[in-house]
């Protein structure tokens, strides 16, 4: 009986939190992220590091979303750093649903950024937003820190061709 009650409470909590995980969002760890970043599908990868609390990140999101839907042979990965400050993923899930984001959203779940930032990008200070463009075909990669302006992504894509 007690177990059943707990089950009901948990279910209620799930319901209350607005529950649903969007199909294009999931939690990953660093080794999953680095393996995704090194996979060679033939597509150019645009990896954007962001968080729901980061105003310049939110401002540049439409540029990334637009690229994701319009550009062929380009995969956009939105890597959320929200879990670094808040272990509850619901805020990100709600954001993804509300904004109807189409790109793949990956919530990086890693503690102690000082131990892993180098493995993602040695020149990254850790400040958000930051964007990495990788062409597995040419092996070229370009990294920028700070808010993307209109046309910047296209310029980065041209440079990794």
């Amino acid at each position: 009986m007690r177990k059943l009650l707990w089950f009901a409470v948990l279910n209620l909590a799930w319901f209350e939190s607005g529950g649903q995980t969007p199909s294009n969002a999931r939690i990953i760890n660093l080794s999953e992220l680095t393996s995704i970043m090194s996979r060679s599908t033939g597509n150019v990868m645009v990896v954007n590091f962001w968080a729901t609390w980061c105003a310049p990140c939110i401002q540049e999101l439409p540029l990334l979303e637009e690229l994701n839907t319009s550009a062929e042979n380009v995969d956009v990965l939105l890597v959320s750093m929200d879990l670094d400050l808040d272990p509850d993923p619901q805020k990100v899930y709600r954001f993804v649903t509300r904004r109807k984001l189409q790109s793949q959203v990956l919530l990086l779940n890693e503690k102690d950024p000082n131990s892993w930032i180098d493995r993602v990008e040695p020149s990254w200070s850790g400040a958000l937003p930051a964007t990495l463009v990788i062409n597995p075909q040419t092996g070229k990669r370009i990294f920028v820190e700070g808010q993307l302006k209109e046309g910047k992504l296209q310029e980065m894509l041209a440079r990794v061709r």
């Binding site: 609390w53 980061c54 105003a55 310049p56 750093m81 670094d84 400050l85 808040d86 272990p87 503690k111 102690d112 950024p113 000082n114 930032i117 180098d118 990254w124 200070s125 850790g126 400040a127 958000l128 937003p129 820190e145 700070g146 808010q147």
Partner: protein, 204 residues
């Protein structure tokens, strides 16, 4: 005539280079130039005012960044613990208030008052000091140690390795660095990186 043109081109190229190359900023072991900025009480504070201290915990910080909020009480605690030992805290906000309205001078005054700051919270309006240091995020610590008449950069990076909870940190970088300096030992970890809010630089 040709020479003059070449010189002009060279100057233009140099100017372009300076405009597009981000400042390298201070590195470990660098001697820090003096600076003078306005504090929340309206008075000017300069690094030279601290010449009789053993060092300074200089922190680029702001009101609005969630990391700054998460670390706010830890910064206050650092000052409480290390000011008596000769390492007081100085905080500097360099965010452009046009890009981040919550980081205006008036908002800084309000924050310092509500949290009873007993250390300076300086406004780097021109962003020159933050650029000189090469500060990127908030909070971004530069631990300065007095060496002769100079302040020398002895640690750059995060306060500890647990933004979520202070008591979950198993590496307290700034405290470890100061304890090492006080004991006359080498700083164990001299440079760290952390996820954080980028400083809102104009024309960045």
């Amino acid at each position: 005539m040709k020479k003059k043109k070449n010189l002009l081109l060279l100057t233009a190229a140099l100017a372009a280079l300076m405009a597009f190359t981000p400042p390298r900023g201070y590195e470990l072991g660098d001697r820090v130039e003096n600076f003078k900025l306005k504090n929340v009480d309206g008075k000017m504070v300069s690094l030279a005012d601290y010449k009789d201290q053993k060092g300074v915990i200089l922190i680029f910080d702001c009101n609005t960044c969630p990391y700054s909020k998460a670390y706010n009480d830890r910064i206050i605690a650092l000052h409480k613990k290390y000011e008596p030992k000769g390492f007081p805290v100085i905080t500097i906000n360099a965010n452009d208030p046009n890009m981040s309205p919550g980081d205006s001078f008036d908002e800084m005054v309000a924050r310092a008052k509500s949290k009873n700051y007993t250390f300076p919270y300086l406004f780097d309006e021109t962003q020159e000091v933050a650029r000189a240091f090469g500060a990127t995020n908030t909070p971004h610590v530069y631990l300065l140690a007095k060496s002769g008449n100079d302040f020398v950069v002895s640690y750059i990076g995060a306060i500890d390795n647990s933004p979520q909870k202070a008591d979950a940190a198993d590496k307290r970088y700034v405290e470890d660095a100061i304890e090492a300096l006080l004991a006359g030992k080498a700083v164990p970890t001299q440079k760290t990186r952390a996820v954080g809010c980028g400083i809102k630089y104009r024309n960045a």
